[in-house]
Amino acid sequence: MNAQSQLSGSELFDVAIIGAGIVGCAVARRFALAGAKVALIEKGSDILSGASKANSAILHTGFDAPKASLELALVQAGRQEYLDIHQDMNLPLVETSALVCAWTPDEASKLEGITEQGRQNGIDRLRLLTSAEARTVEPGLAHNLVAALHVLDEHVIDPWSAPLAYVNQAIALGANVLRQCEVRAGAFDGTWLLETNRGDIRSKWVVNAAGLFGDHVDARLGFQPEFLIKPRKGQFVVLDKAASRQLKTIILPVPNEITKGVVVCPTAFGNILVGPTAEEQDDRIRATVEHDTLAALVAHGSKLVPGLAHIPVTAVYAGLRPATEKKEYRVIHRAGHNAITLGGIRSTGLSSALGLAQHALKLHGGAERGEFASSATPKVHMPNLAESRPRDWQAANHGDIVCHCEMVTRREIEATLSSPLPPGDFGGLRRRTRAGMGRCQGFYCNARLAEISKGYLATPLAVEQEGGK
C-alpha cells in the first residue's frame, strides 16, 4: 500500500493496533498468526519511532522483576518465545550472561537478597561470586570489585531486527501496516471507527500500544485514562568496536528503587554501550543527548572496566521510557468496548513484547472462540546484522561495501529498499542495515547513502537543489 494513499474505511479489520513500537509489532504478528485481519497503525514515518528506537537490547530473564507480577510473567513468556523462534527467523542471541556488580560492602550485602528474589522468580542459573571469581568470568573488571552475582541467562539481541521480523511475518500473513498515519479519535458502536489523518479505519477490536502516548490515545478513544505517562529519558554512549576486546559480559549495577541503573553492555553489533541514565521529563518526543552526561557515562564505563579508557566514542543516543506514575505494566482490558491497552511498558518491553502479544490475544479471546482461521506460518528470514554470525560482506557477490565502518553492502541496502516494509526514514535505514551507524557516522558513506536512498525517505538526506536539479 502506498505510504500516502487515503484509506476508504470500507474494509473491516478484526483488530487495529495503534503504535508500531516493539509491542505493537509483536501484537500484530500474534494476531496475524492466529488468523485475524490486522491493521498496524503508526504515526511516525517508520516503525520503532518512539520508545523502541533506543534501548539497551538486553533480553531479560526477569530475575529482578517484581515478584508474581504481570511484568515478570510476560518477560518470561516473551523471552521463551524469542528463544523458540529466533533461529527460524535468523535473529541473533548473544549469550553474554550478566554480572550484577557490587562495588561497596553495602552493595555486596544486597546480593543475597537479589539472588533470593531471582530464585523465587524462577531463575535458577544464578551464582554468587567473590571478586576474584567474578574477574575470572570477566577479566576486564576493575580491581575494587567487592562481589558479584552471575546471571547466566541474561542475553543480548538485535533490538531492531526482532520487531521488524515480527512485522514482516504479520505482513506475509496479510496484515496492513500504515505509516505516517495518526489515530486522532475513535468511536465504538459495536465496531470501532478510528479517525486518522489518512482517513477512517473500521475494526472490530482495538489494541492501544502507543507507548509514550498510551494515555493520550486512551483519551482519544473516549476512555478516561487510568494512567499518566511520565517519560523517563535514558542517554547512552556507544564505544568503538575495539572495546569489545575488553568486555564480553553485561555489567549491571546493584539496582535501586528508581531504575535498573547504568549498565556497561556488549551489543550484538560488536560495540560496548554505557547507559542508560534515568531522567524524568515532560516532553514525550524530544530525547536530547547532553554533553556533560555523555562525558560522565564515558568516565563511569572506564571506572568499572579500565580497559575502556581511551576507546573512541562511536555514537551517542537517547531514548524515552514510557513510564507511568506506577512501576507496573498498565494492561487494561475493556471487554465491553473490544479494547485492550498495553500501557506503561517501561523498561522491559523488548523482552516482554512477545509475551504481551500472547497476553493480548488471550484477553481478546477470539482465537479460543474460533473466530479466526489461521493459515500456515510463513517463513521469515532476516538479514543478519550481528557481529557474532556471518554477515553479507563475507559472502560473494555483495556488489561493494558501501558503509566501511559497519561493512554494509550495496546488496543489503538494495534488498531493504525493495523489501515489503522499506525504511521510511534515515533512522529506519540505519536500523535495518547499520549503514552510517559506525565510528565515522557517515563521513565516508553518507553521500553514497543519499544517492542510493533517493526517493525512499520521508526526510531525504540530500536537499532539493535550486532549479530542481
Binding site: 568496536k241 576486546r245 530525547a287 573512541p312 560482506w393 559472502a395 560473494a396 557517515g442 553521500a447 526526510t459
Partner: protein, 406 residues
C-alpha cells in the same frame, strides 16, 4: 597462498608514493589494496585545492591529482586491487580482506598502513541536542558535491576554524548553499589569516568563543542554539557542518589489538615508520592529524624507501624506546626509536603538535642533555618540525620538555 613482499593498505597519496618508491628500490611483489574504486584517498573529493606541485611539478585539482596517481601506478608493476577492504590485521602479517567475491586472507612479509584521516563526528564531540538529518563533516559535504552533485543542506552552521573549514565554506558557496554562520569554540581561530577575513568577506558571520549548546530539529535540522559569553542565541539553519578535528583512521589497529599511540591516536612508529609490531609500517596522515596531500606523498615515499631496505633482512628485533614529552604537547612522531637501524629514507625529523595555544620554550633532551630549544607561541594544529639528531636512535631517553611563559 601467494605471498606478497609488501601489502599496502590504502591508495591515497602516501600509499601510492610508497608503492612506487619500493618498486624503484627493487621490491618484488607489491600489492596495493584500496577499498574504493579509485586512487587519491581524501584528495579525490577536494574540488579546489592545488595538489601535486612538489611531487609532479604542476598543479592539479583534487580529482585530477587522483587520476595522475592512477597513471603513475599504472607505469609500474604493482598489483593494484580496488574494492578490497581490509577487515583485520594479524600479528604475523596475515590480513583478512573483503572484496566483491567474498572474504580472503592475504599475507606479506611487511604491511604498510596508509589509511589516512577522518574528521571528528558530532557524536564523538558530545554535542547536546536532537539527532536530526543534516549534520555532516567536511569530507561528507565534499563527497556530496564532488561525487553526486547533491547537497545535504542549503543554509548550514559551520563549526571549526581549521584550513578545512575554508574548504567547507568554499564548497557551500560554489554549490548554492549559504552558511548561516561559522563558529569556533575557542577564543583563537586555529588558522589565522584567511579565517579572519574570508567568511565576513563572503557575508558569513564568524564568531570565536562560540559554542553550540543545543541542536533542534525533528526530521531535518531546524536551528542551533549557540552560546557566546553569557549570551545564548538561536540561529535558524537546515544543517550543521562539523569541520576538522581530524583523527587518524587507525581503527584497524584498535580492533586488531595492535598498539596505538595515545597522543596521535595513530599507530606508534619508529624512525623508519615501523610500528611496535615490526612487520607493520605506517605512513601518511594515519600517523598524525593532519598534513597536506604533498606531505603525505613525500612521507609515503620516504617510508617506502626505508621499508624496501628493511625487507632485505628479518623484521627488526630491537625493542623500541618510547619518546616522552611534557604537556601540553599533544603528540610526537616518531614516538618510538629503535637502535641499530640505519636505513635510507624514513623520518628525518620529529613532528610535534600542541594541545592548545601556548607560549613558552620547547626543548629536546637526549639522555638528559638538552640538544635543541626554541621559544615561541605554539598553536594547536600547526606543524612543528624538530630535526632528529643522529644519536637519538641509540639513546636511553629522548624527551621533549616544555616551559610555559607566564
Amino acid at each position: 597462498m601467494n605471498r606478497s613482499d609488501v601489502i599496502i593498505v590504502g591508495g591515497g597519496p602516501s600509499g601510492v608514493a610508497a608503492a612506487i618508491a619500493m618498486r624503484k628500490a627493487g621490491v618484488g611483489k607489491i600489492t596495493l589494496l584500496e577499498r574504493e574504486r579509485y586512487l587519491g584517498g581524501a584528495t579525490r573529493h577536494c574540488g579546489h585545492s592545488p595538489f601535486g606541485m612538489l611531487e609532479f611539478g604542476r598543479v592539479y585539482l583534487g580529482a585530477a591529482y587522483g587520476r595522475r596517481l592512477e597513471r603513475e601506478i599504472a607505469r609500474h608493476d604493482i598489483d593494484l586491487r580496488y574494492g578490497h577492504s581490509v577487515a583485520q590485521l594479524g600479528e604475523d602479517g596475515e590480513l583478512l580482506v573483503a572484496n566483491p567475491d567474498g572474504l580472503q586472507t592475504l599475507s606479506a612479509k611487511r604491511v604498510l598502513m596508509t589509511t589516512g584521516v577522518r574528521e571528528t563526528t558530532r557524536a564523538a564531540r558530545f554535542v547536546t541536542g536532537d539527532r536530526p538529518v543534516g549534520i555532516v563533516t567536511t569530507g561528507t559535504l565534499q563527497a556530496y558535491a564532488a561525487f553526486h552533485n547533491m547537497m545535504p543542506f542549503h543554509r548550514p552552521v559551520i563549526v571549526g576554524s581549521e584550513l578545512v573549514t575554508l574548504s567547507a565554506i568554499w564548497t557551500c558557496l560554489s554549490h548554492g548553499a549559504r552558511p548561516a554562520a561559522v563558529l569556533e569554540p575557542r577564543s583563537h581561530s586555529l588558522v589565522r589569516a584567511p579565517l579572519n577575513w574570508f567568511p565576513p568577506l563572503m557575508g558569513v558571520p564568524f564568531h570565536r568563543d562560540a559554542q553550540v549548546v543545543d541542536i533542534l530539529g525533528r526530521g531535518r535540522v531546524e536551528a542551533v542554539r549557540i552560546k557566546r559569553g553569557d549570551i545564548v542565541e538561536t540561529i535558524e539553519c537546515d544543517g550543521i557542518l562539523f569541520s576538522g578535528g581530524f583523527t587518524p583512521e587507525a581503527s584497524l589497529f584498535l580492533t586488531s589489538g595492535l598498539a596505538v599511540d595515545l597522543g596521535s591516536a595513530g599507530p606508534a612508529v619508529d624512525q623508519d615508520g615501523r610500528c611496535e609490531n615490526p612487520r607493520y609500517f605506517a605512513a601518511g596522515n594515519v600517523l598524525r592529524a593532519v598534513e597536506t596531500g604533498g606531505w603525505a606523498f613525500r612521507e609515503g615515499r620516504a617510508i617506502g624507501t626505508a621499508l624496501a631496505a628493511d625487507l632485505l633482512g628479518d623484521p627488526a628485533r630491537a625493542a623500541p624506546t618510547k619518546v616522552t614529552y611534557d604537556a601540553p604537547i599533544k603528540l610526537v612522531v616518531p614516538s618510538l626509536l629503535r637502535s641499530g637501524s640505519a636505513l635510507p629514507g624514513g623520518l628525518k625529523d620529529f613532528q610535534l603538535r600542541f594541545q592548545r595555544r601556548v607560549e613558552g620554550t620547547l626543548s629536546l633532551s637526549i639522555d638528559g642533555r638538552e640538544v635543541w630549544q626554541r621559544n615561541a607561541i605554539w598553536r594547536p594544529e600547526s606543524r612543528i618540525i624538530v630535526p632528529r639528531p643522529n644519536n637519538s636512535t641509540g639513546a636511553q631517553s629522548v624527551h621533549f620538555g616544555f616551559r610555559e611563559e607566564v
